[in-house]
Symmetry: C2
C-alpha cells in the first residue's frame, strides 16, 4: 500500500511538506510557527485568495499533484500581477481525505514551490485538515509596483473611453486543452499542458503599470466575462476586434479535431473569447501608448452611450462587444454557482 | 423556498457579501478587484492560514453561520497574536454547496467582520466556489509588534530552562462546551458559547512581546499538545503545575453533569490540559518577570536532561509534564489526520 497522509498524521505532513519549500530572502520567518513573517519594504501588501476544488477545478486523472500545485499558484500569482504587482509569498490551506497518497502531497508542494519560484516567491505557510473533498485554497501576497508611498496600482476601474485594449499571454489555450482531454484526444501537448499548467505573463503586470495602464484584469473566467468586470468597474463599454485576436493554427486544428470526435460544432473563437483559466492579462492603456511585443492590441474602450460609433447597431448592447455587436457564444463565462 | 447562493450566482454572492464588510483605514483597496492592498507601515507582514470543514470543525446544527464566522476569524487572529502581533486583515476562501442559504452566508460574513473588528482588522478579500463540503479557509494578515526594522517577534523557539510558563485566556472551556452539546445539555451557556465563539486574549500577545516573552503559542490543539511544540522548537522540557491551573466551579460542575448524562468518567483536568480551540495564549518569560493580571503562571521550563530536579522520576519523560510526570489523559491532543 502506498503511504497516505493519514499514515503520516497532521504534524508529519507539515514537517514533510515544509522540507520541500525553499524560502527566499524576503521571508523573515518561514513555515512552522503560528504565523510567518514576510518583509514588505514597500509598506503595503497585495493579497488575493483563490480556491480549487477537485471535480470542479481539477481532476486527478487529468492533472498530477504537481500540475495542481503549479495551477493553484499560477492563478493566484496572476491576480497579483493583474494589479501591477509582483508575487512574494503563498499560503496554502489544504483539505484532503486521509487516503490521499503522500506522493500526491509531495507533488503538490513541489508544484506550488516551482511556480512560486518563477516570480521569486516562497510558500510561507499553510494548514492541512481532513475532509472528503480535495480542496486547495491559496492566498498570494505581493508587493505593488513603485516605491513606498507612491504605488502604481492598476485596478479594474480606471479605463476611459478612447483607451486601447491589449492582452498579454495566451487566450483559449486552456479551454482547448480541456476540450481535448474531455474528448480523449492526447495532442497537441502544448494545449493540454496549457490547461494543466497555465503560464501567466507575470512580468507584463508591473510592465503595464509602468506603461500607464488605466485598468487591468487577470482573464481567469474568460476574456469577455473578465472585460465585463472592467466595463462595470470603469463604467465604460469595451469592444474587441475579432480580427486582432491571435488564433494559432494548432488552436484551429484542435477545434476541428474536437468537433470531429464529439460531433459538436466547435467555434475556435468561443475558446478564445470565453474560455477561462488562461490567466492572460487584459489591460487598457491611454491612446497612443507604445506597447512592447508581448502585448497585442485587440480592441478599444468606448463610452457607455457611444452607440453611433458602432455603426448604428442601436441600444441594448452589452457592456462588452465583439466588432460592435453582442457575442453569442457557447458559454457566457465561468460562474461557479450556475 | 429560502434563497440560496445558487440562486444568487457567484458574482451576486460576491457583491452581497462585500457590502457587509466594513473597511478600516489600513485598507488601501478593499474587496472586488484581482487583489486587495493593505498598508503595512512596519515593513513586514505576519500571515497565517487555518481551514475549517463542516463536520470536522463545526456543525451547522450546533453553530450558526455567525458563530462559524467569529470562530474562523478568531482562530486565525489568535495565531497573529501568538507571534506578538496585531491582526489587520482577513481573506476568506469559501467552498459551499449551491443550496447553502444566502442567510447563512450573510451570517458568516457578519461573524467574520465582527470578530475582525475586535482587533481593528478588516475582511479584505475572498473567493467563493462550489463544492459538496462546506469549508471556510481563512488567511489572517497582521503587523508585528515594534517599529520598522526592530520587530519584537515571539516564536516557539526561544524558551530557556528557568523561564516561567504562563497563560492568558481560558482553558478547557471550548472542550467543556463541546462535551455539553454532544451530551445534549444546554447549560451553562458560558461554556457552550466559549465553544461556539472562542474569545482569544488578543491584547495579551503584543503585551507578552513587550514583556520579553521568550516563546509563545496559540493553544488551538490543547495546552499540552501546544506546549509540546514549544518544547520541541526550543529543545527544552516544559512542566505544568496542576494546582496553578484555574478551574472555575462551572467547569467542574459541567464535568459532573456530562459524566452523569453519558455514564463516562470525565476528568475536568483533561478538558483544561488537552481540550483544544480555546485559543488561549501560552508563553514563557524570563524568571522574575512581573506579569499583568491577565497572565497566570502555571509552570516552568526545564532542561531536557533535568530529570533529577523532578524528584527523581527518571528517564523516558515526555517533553511536556504535569507536576513532573507524564499526563495520561483522555486524548493526546488534536491531530487532524488520526
Amino acid at each position: 500500500m502506498e503511504p497516505t497522509i493519514g499514515d503520516a498524521g497532521e504534524f508529519g505532513v507539515i514537517a514533510r511538506v515544509s522540507r520541500r519549500l525553499p524560502q527566499g530572502d524576503a521571508v523573515l520567518l518561514g513555515p512552522g510557527d503560528d504565523a510567518a513573517l514576510l518583509a514588505v519594504p514597500a509598506g503595503a501588501v497585495l493579497a488575493s485568495t483563490d480556491v480549487l476544488v477537485e471535480g470542479n477545478h481539477f481532476r486527478r486523472d487529468w492533472s498530477t499533484g504537481y500540475d495542481v500545485g503549479r495551477k493553484a499558484a499560477a492563478q493566484n500569482l496572476a491576480d497579483i500581477a493583474a494589479m501591477g504587482g509582483r508575487g512574494s509569498a503563498l499560503l496554502v490551506g489544504l483539505v484532503a481525505p486521509a487516503d490521499l497518497p503522500l506522493r500526491w502531497l509531495d507533488e503538490l508542494a513541489d508544484g506550488l514551490a516551482d511556480e512560486a519560484a518563477v516570480v521569486g516567491a516562497s510558500v510561507i505557510g499553510g494548514d492541512t485538515v481532513r475532509g472528503h473533498e480535495l480542496t486547495v485554497a491559496v492566498t498570494a501576497l505581493g508587493v505593488p509596483d513603485g516605491s513606498a508611498g507612491e504605488h502604481r496600482l492598476v485596478t479594474r476601474a480606471g479605463a476611459r473611453p478612447g483607451d486601447v485594449l491589449a492582452v498579454a499571454g495566451w487566450l483559449g489555450w486552456s479551454a482547448a486543452g480541456l476540450a481535448l482531454l474531455a474528448a480523449g484526444i492526447g495532442s497537441p501537448r502544448a494545449l493540454i499542458e496549457a490547461h494543466r499548467r497555465p503560464e501567466p505573463p507575470y512580468q507584463a503586470g508591473p510592465e503595464a503599470a509602468r506603461l500607464g495602464a488605466t485598468a487591468m484584469i487577470d482573464t481567469s473566467d474568460g476574456l469577455l466575462a473578465d472585460l465585463g468586470h472592467i466595463a462595470a468597474a470603469s463604467r465604460v463599454r469595451v469592444d474587441v476586434r475579432a480580427a486582432a485576436l491571435r488564433v494559432p493554427s494548432q488552436l484551429r486544428d484542435a477545434a476541428v479535431a474536437v468537433g470531429a470526435t464529439t460531433g459538436q460544432h466547435v467555434r475556435v473563437l468561443d475558446w478564445v473569447l470565453t474560455g477561462g483559466e488562461d490567466h492572460a492579462l487584459a489591460a487598457t492603456f491611454p491612446p497612443g501608448v507604445r506597447l512592447p511585443a508581448r502585448w497585442t492590441v485587440i480592441g478599444s474602450v468606448r463610452d457607455c452611450d457611444d452607440e453611433a460609433a458602432d455603426g448604428g447597431v442601436g441600444g441594448g448592447l452589452p457592456a462588452v462587444t465583439v466588432d460592435g455587436e453582442a457575442w453569442h457564444g457557447a458559454t457566457p463565462g465561468w460562474d461557479h454557482f450556475r
